[in-house]
Amino acid sequence: MLGKLLKYEIRATRRIFLPLYGLIVVCALLIRTFTALNLQHANGMASVPFIITMIIYCLLIAATFVMTLIVTIQRFNKNLLGDEGYLSFTLPVKVHSQIDSKMIVSLLWTVVSLIIAVGSVLILASNDVTWEQMSKFWSDLGQFFTEYGGWGTAIFLEAIVAMLVGSLTFIVQIYASVSVGNFSSKHKLLAAFGTFIGFMVVEEIISSLLFTAGQNAQFTQWFGWYWSGLDLTGKFQTVSASLGLSILYEAVFGVAFYFFTNWLLSRKLNLE
């Protein structure tokens, strides 16, 4: 059933994102054409098309990221807790599948939006020099991986996982907040926003408590000594281990928000 939910979730959201992506690519191509014609340095009216397209392009990029946030909130709020919830919650599917499908599709659009943004910059700005720099960057990166072997790759992969886990935690934190906000009889979205801030404060308090506990002079001294004694591989290992720990730490919050949302929607559901 998750597959079917995903199918319809993508259908419901792609009609917002695909046109945006299309426009971004068109703008990037236009800007590239104008640059090729050297319009950006033209005098007077001749530079106007370039400037306008550039402004529209920047606005579209900003709009895409704002939309991923709005769609994350609205799909959950409207499709599950609004009138459409009367259908969503009478489908013979588990509540967690509903959450899963919305979470996965939100993450998908976040990643695709990022790829489109980077890709469009490549379209509008790429020339011989940038390609040269790009290929140098990749060869440097390749060298980095061969030199530091497994640990280099590990840190690279961990950075990607950290971004994905961070995004997912952010998404389910929104879901948990909107679900709590739904209990308010008036001002549901305001209550959701307040809850979100509340969750952030709690996270901050827990983090600072844990952090201060570990941050005494003795530990700092010990760590400085430990760090300076490491060779480069050892340093990589340490970075990789701490990245791993921070992913785990973030994931704990994500899992908590996920189960909290699932509990609210399956045990405390009250649609208006």
Partner: protein, 233 residues
């Protein structure tokens, strides 16, 4: 009980500042058309939403075929809410595919047949439709399932009187003999002729449960007359 499809045991639902259902005990027999009748705000929709798992009871429980509302009950209950629950960007055809994807007991050919008879174009989007037409589409989708229990909340409220008869015919001709129909409405004269039994509900309490025949024989009244007497303002 063997012969009942819905069972309420001390079912209570309290909203902030009001008791919507107060310790209701009720069993709805299998294979009948039952009217859930009561004035506005009497608890009809609350009861129906509890049956469908859209509300959580404050205390007590409701079971469908012995099961609490969940994935298994949703497979066999076909629910028409009192509001538009369809999104506006899908076409009717998309919605038929959607229902067909999620409900194993959905019959597409039945849906297309009814659409044709009510002159609704399957390619139209909900966005372009009037409120009455949307209601017809929802009813068609709900009645195209071969469910064991149909729960219809105000199924004819927004539809013109001419279409009401057709819709009631549709409801009756599309439900199988073993299925049960629970219809909530205050348009009693329109539905009276199809009902086997009635449940009168007021201020969260069950006031009366009876078969329509018993009302006619014992009281020598129509359901509508009795309703007007019981709920006299």
């Amino acid at each position: 009980m063997e012969n009942s499809i819905v069972e309420c045991r001390n079912l209570t639902k309290v909203f902030p500042g009001c008791v919507a259902l107060s310790s209701v005990n009720l069993s709805i027999p299998k294979g009948q058309i039952v009217g859930l009748l009561g004035p506005n705000g009497s608890g009809k929709s609350t009861m129906i939403k509890l049956i469908n798992g859209l509300l959580t009871p404050t205390s007590g429980e409701v079971t469908i075929k012995g099961m609490k509302p969940g994935v298994e009950t949703k497979k066999i209950v076909s629910y028409l809410p009192e509001r538009t629950y369809l999104n506006d960007w899908m076409s009717v055809q998309n919605l038929i595919d959607y229902f067909g994807d999620f409900y194993a007991n959905f019959r597409k050919e039945k849906a297309y047949d009814m659409l044709q008879r009510l002159h609704i174009n399957p390619n139209d989007r909900l966005k372009t439709m009037s409120k009455g037409t949307k209601e017809k589409v929802q009813l068609i989708l709900v009645m195209s399932r071969e469910a064991e229990l149909y729960v219809l909340d105000e199924p004819i409220g927004g539809v013109d009187p001419a279409a009401r008869d057709y819709i009631l015919d549709t409801i009756i001709s599309n439900y199988t003999e073993n299925a049960t129909l629970l219809i909530s409405t205050h348009l009693i004269t329109d539905v009276e002729k199809i009902l086997d039994g009635v449940i009168f509900i007021n201020k969260g309490n069950i006031v009366l449960t009876s078969t329509v025949d018993a009302i006619r024989e014992k009281e020598n009244k129509s359901v509508d007359t009795l309703f007007r007497e019981v709920f006299k303002c």
